[in-house]
Amino acid sequence: MRGGARFALLLGWLLVLAALGLLISQRLVISTDLRSFMPAPTTPDQTLLMEQVGEGPGSRLLLVAIDGLPVEQLAQLSRSLRTSLVNDSQFTQVVNGDFDMGVLDDRLLPYRYLLSPTLDTQALDEDYLSDQLQQRLDDLSSPAGTLLKGLLPRDPTLEVLKLAELWTPVRSPEVRDGVWFSSRHEALMLVQTRAAGFDPEAQGVAIDHLRSAFAALPGSAGAHLTLSGPGYFSVLVNAQTREEADWIGRISTMGFIILLLLAYRSVRSLLLGALPVVSGGLAGIAVMTLAFPQVHGITLAFGFTLLGVAQEYPIRLLSHRRAGESAVESVRGLWPLLLTAIASACIAYLAFYASGVGGLKQLAVFTITGLLAAGLTTRYALPYLLPDTVRDVESTPGLGAFRRWLDNLPRPRWLPIPIALVAVGMLVFAPGPFWQNDLSALTPLPRDLLMTDARLRGELGAPDVRYLLVMQGKTADDVIALSQSVQPRMQALVSSKALDAFELPSTYLPSEAVQRARQAKLPDQATLDAALTAALSGMPFRKDLFAPFVHDVEAARTAPLLTPELFAQSALGQRLAAMLVKRGDHWVGLATLSGVRDPEAISALAPQFGGQLRLLDLKEASESLVAEYRTRILHALLAATALLLVTITLALRSVRRAWHVLAPMTLATFLVLAVERVAGIPLSLFHLVALILAAGLGLHYALFFERDTGDPAEQRRTLHATVVCVVSALLVFGMLGWSSIPVLRAIGLTVSLGVAFHFCLSILMAPHARQD
């Protein structure tokens, strides 16, 4: 190809890439919701789990601890922080043990008579009022006087305080200087975010707000702020993983470039060799943006990992060039084998599509498009751009000797049998559980963070993340009414120590029937006026002082009942909204439980409420979900293996040759499994993905080693290409294997082990060397 045409081709190629880039920049919407990487739920429990993981009240909770200063200053910081957070729309609830007079905003304040249980046992008559007023009078002369003085005209019976008491978590930590303190002298606080727990981006914003509010407080400089909770973890894991993946990526990319320069001694080949992979990546993302409204961040990360296979295509082409042969001729000789490799990898990745998991479907679309694009550009574009004359890698010093050494290794026919037996033995006798069923292992956290979380949760009496009491009904009010009837039973369970505390939807909003009953007990204005006047006789209170009280009672008596929708406009109503969700044609109420010791005793309540109530064990639901998920992936992989078998057999037109390709690949895969199991590593989704990538790479090694050319120079080129591929894979994934992040380590370790085993077994089980 002449210079001008070559330049035009390169320009055209780059323009296409730029166009793809433009399309992506316009359409790409990255989602960070981890749930799209979880399997579709099938049982009602699993559906609830998926909602809970992301949006439930437990997942929105942030635990805050402040330490590093004397108690009085910490208490002051805690109070000031609370004041600034209460006014921030990012947060729906902020509690620190401080008595809160402003639990209800002005508009909802009259509803205190419908929310507080006072009227259930009391009427607002002369006796009650006179007793209350006498108590207030005593209060005024007492040290609490200034505290209550402002409240007095509007709320002489102190309903607001009763509500504040009712809504303070039952099992709360020690109160010092008016706010919660842990046994380690940290000021404690519970903050509920508006953002869902597993939306790291929105959680990140909320946490930034919290931190800057804290930093803006006078005197916060010497104090230390500790955060915990699911939302904080998701932010942390995201940031840590990204940071570590970035620097590992930078180092291994540099190593990769140096390796390729050493192997081919041509900057031009290196730059051009990168084009197919770049094309694959861009084409993959472009197709994804067209096929899906949102692309998951994990799809991209996994996708680029899996696309690592594509780097083999240009490497094979570069290594297999002979002196005096044009790149186009070289690629024609390689293409049948390369096409087999590409087709097989695509078929293997098709398994992901069949898994039925949103994120994995995307992954399949991305990798298959990417591999096809990379393969086709390697065949039809790259060769026309490569320099005409190259150094034949066949003459690389030491390569011939290495090949001879490999050829002279003993290759007993029976080798697969002991290896298979050892692998099976290791799998059978490996310690620990085979599968990682714990959903939290998908977002692994440093141990000390989990310890801190458990400690703070214990001190704060924060609800367990594991158990939820689920209630359902036709309407929101049915659920609240059910919750009301459950309340005494749960109270009994608390007394019998089955659990420490609970929080029901009806804690925040009584049912309409109860509200109506309380409303009916409120006296009309004339009656109340008369009772008040009688109660006030002989008291020193100003006669017109209680006009706001009379006004509020009248407002409460005539107001429409408080509904969850109306209530939702206040912060507390938001708290209720998180506990009361509409699902399809019915409503579900979620009660949080703390310190559950006897789940059976709580489950035993279920039959008495006609199946409308049950205890949900999120851990159990999540484990069943993960198990089901894995079964689906394994089935898909099984199908893929069968397809692969057929494809390879057809492509090579020989069962015997297909055996020589597939046997080392399969054995090596099982060997990786066996080694990881013996090391006590339970297998997670990440291991499975990494195993599939390693198998894809192994397939290449086996395919090329199996090729019987009878030409020692060509065999040396094959070896050269394979060594470059193996070393680059070990470089990239070996680095990941050293990562401190469990996810990256799982991928790195599995692929590195896989590449090593695949390489060794492909060589030892290659047929022709034995015939030499």
Partner: protein, 162 residues
């Protein structure tokens, strides 16, 4: 008090327990004991559960505590830490006026005035910014509390300049 149309009279005993601890025992009209200790105010009323809250929530109590402890303990530097102090003498009679320095406290307490003669403090009055006044007649003077007291009558009893 603005919320009341006549003054509220209570009598009892205020004792300094040493350190930052103060006990206020009320005998009339209702028996009640309030203790301020370790930053915590605890109220005990006959036949009811004890109630307690942080001293931080009642700044006027903190001020009262500070001034009391400083006065009784004879610690002028502690007084000067929290208040602008002015003293007026008229013969053996003296008047000590304390204005809180902390603006947060000043929102609750306008000033504290202690009237005395010789070595004895006779009465203490605390003014809140909304016009409410708390007056304490101390020592012997407490027995001279009129049946229907007025601000002016008590001020006269204290003997200071009104």
């Amino acid at each position: 008090m603005r919320v009341l149309d006549k003054p509220l009279v209570v009598s009892g005993e205020l004792s300094w327990l040493g350190g930052d601890r103060l006990e206020r025992r009320v005998d009339l009209p209702t028996k009640e004991t309030a203790t301020i200790a370790d930053g915590q105010v605890t109220q005990q009323r006959e036949g009811r559960k004890p109630r307690s809250f942080s001293l931080e929530r009642a700044p006027q109590l903190k001020v009262l505590l500070d001034s009391f402890v400083a006065l009784l303990g004879g610690d002028p530097s502690r007084l000067a830490d929290s208040f602008d102090v002015t003293v007026a003498h008229a013969g053996s009679q003296w008047t000590l006026t304390l204005k809180p320095r902390d603006p947060r406290v000043a929102k609750q307490i306008a000033s504290i005035r202690v009237d005395g003669a010789g070595t004895e403090a006779r009465c203490m009055r605390m003014e809140e910014p909304d016009g409410d006044v708390t007056m304490d007649l101390l020592g012997d003077l407490a027995t001279k509390m009129p049946d229907a007291p007025t601000r002016d009558a008590i001020a006269a009893l204290c003997g200071g300049t009104p």
